[in-house]
């Protein structure tokens, strides 16, 4: 105890504590802001899909239903936590936490605006791919532990789907890495500024396409929502979950969408920067802060998710596997070859 105290009063150790405190505060701010966006992403989804289907969406709670997410959150908070008989209890308890943790920790390396990134590590992209694939543990463990046929089938399907599209996603980002010459997300954003369009989405259009399709499949969204297929598997791997545990899975899914959207924004749409051709026409836009651009682009991608969900019917499982293995992977390889050839010639 004395030793610890002596260590604490040494000059320099106070600075370390201060650093840690600053990082903890930053993390708390990021998590709080993202959770707020998750709550309102559910509201946004219901509104968007409602209007696309000529309905009104939620509108009873608060003006235009704006307090609906708060009401939902309170309801889930007070709901009974049912653990099915003969379920594998420790695994059942932990699976949603694993899902949430895997989804949240990807946010550690995303640069939200210039200079604001919690961990500026030089393998940021690899870190996101690694951590987001940990989320599939949460899925397969919950499917296994619930002791229900629907959960089990949903978990299996989800696992096969996530790992199939993981390959395509990993390959689609190689083109970005070649062009940026780095795995650090901040440097990837900076590298895009030197290209005429100000974003990699134009030279890497093939990679962008593969990435977006794989991202939709990775987050189990329609039209690739087979693991949750309401009309056949009721809710897939989390059918037995209720109350707060269900809320954690639900939040993890939306955080996953936000992470994939943020990754698309940083790798393909230029992150927090403004494309040069926009400021050439409207010079006053240069004064808009970077975080506004980032969130604007992110919400465009999220809107795109909802749009696709409202437009396309669900794929069959064999079609899903065909798209993943026979179309997206060859396309991603072709993209790598084209990028490599262009890089060698130019």
């Amino acid at each position: 105890m004395m030793k610890l105290f002596e260590l604490l009063i040494q000059p320099g150790s106070f600075d370390i504590l201060l650093d840690i405190l600053v990082v903890v505060l930053k993390i708390a701010v990021v998590i709080a802001v993202v959770m707020l966006h998750v709550a309102y992403a559910t509201y946004f989804e219901r509104k968007v899909i409602g209007h696309m289907q000529v309905r009104m969406g939620p509108r009873e709670v608060g003006p235009h239903g704006l307090l609906q997410p708060v009401a939902d959150m309170l309801k889930l908070f007070f709901k009974e936590d049912i653990i099915p008989a003969r379920a594998d209890k420790p695994v059942f308890y932990l699976a949603p936490v694993i899902s949430l943790m895997a989804a949240l920790s990807s946010l550690a390396v995303i640069p939200f605006f210039d200079g604001f990134v919690i961990a500026d590590i030089n393998i940021g992209l690899l870190f996101i791919l690694a951590v987001s694939s940990l989320g599939s543990y949460g899925i397969v463990l919950s499917g296994w532990a619930s002791n229900s046929k629907y959960s089990f089938l949903g978990g299996l399907r989800s696992m096969a789907q996530v790992i199939s599209y993981e390959v395509a996603m990993g390959l689609s980002l190689v083109g970005v890495m070649i062009m940026a010459g780095s795995l650090n997300l901040t440097e990837i954003v900076r590298a895009q500024a030197s290209y005429p369009a100000g974003m990699f989405a134009v030279p890497q259009v093939l990679g962008f396409f593969v990435f977006i399709v794989a991202a939709i499949a990775e987050t189990n969204r329609a039209p690739f929502d087979l693991p949750e297929a309401e009309s056949e598997l009721v809710a897939g791997y989390f059918v037995e979950y209720s109350g707060m545990r269900f809320a954690l899975f639900y939040a993890a899914e939306y955080i996953g969408m936000i992470v994939m959207g943020a990754l698309a924004v940083t790798c393909f749409l230029g992150g927090w920067t403004v494309p040069g051709f926009v400021t050439a026409v409207l010079p006053f836009l240069e004064h808009v802060p970077g975080v506004v651009w980032f969130i604007g682009k992110l919400y465009f991608i999220i809107f795109f998710y909802y749009w696709i969900r409202a437009t396309l019917p669900r794929y069959r499982y064999d079609q899903l596997m065909n798209i993943g293995w026979k179309i997206l992977i060859p396309l991603a390889l072709v993209n790598i070859l084209i990028t490599g050839i262009a890089k060698v010639i130019l």
């Binding site: 903890v24 992209l125 296994w144 990993g170 026979k326």
Partner: protein
């Protein structure tokens, strides 16, 4: 270091939310409520059944292709500095891979009934 902190805080956030909920929520279990969901009827048979061997094939293919994708990352990062030499080498690597890929395709490893 910040990454480790982030992981800890994320885990604490999830567990904390569950524990906070545990203070307030009801707990009134009875056998019917705890039964696994099966469209309203009593569950029939064992839930953890045998499943299609296709899933194993997909898992093995995933290991092969994902490792190969990871091999490409360092190559892509230093591409600028090595240039043509690296490109030709990667062409050979992709060609070898492509042979395996076509073999798997012809063996109908990707087909799903």
């Amino acid at each position: 270091m910040p990454v480790v902190l982030f992981l800890l805080i994320a885990a604490a956030f999830g567990l904390g939310a569950l524990m906070m909920g545990g203070l307030f929520r009801l707990r009134r279990p009875y056998p019917e409520k705890l039964m696994p969901y099966e469209s309203g009827i009593d569950p029939v048979g064992e839930p953890r059944q045998r499943f299609s061997v296709r899933f194993y094939v997909i898992a093995m293919l995933f290991v092969v292709f994902d490792v190969e994708a990871v091999f490409m990352y360092p190559w892509a990062v230093v591409f600028d500095r090595i240039g043509l030499y690296a490109f030709v080498e990667m062409l050979i690597f992709i060609f070898v891979l492509l042979v395996g890929y076509l073999y798997a395709w012809k063996k109908e490893a990707f087909r799903w009934e």
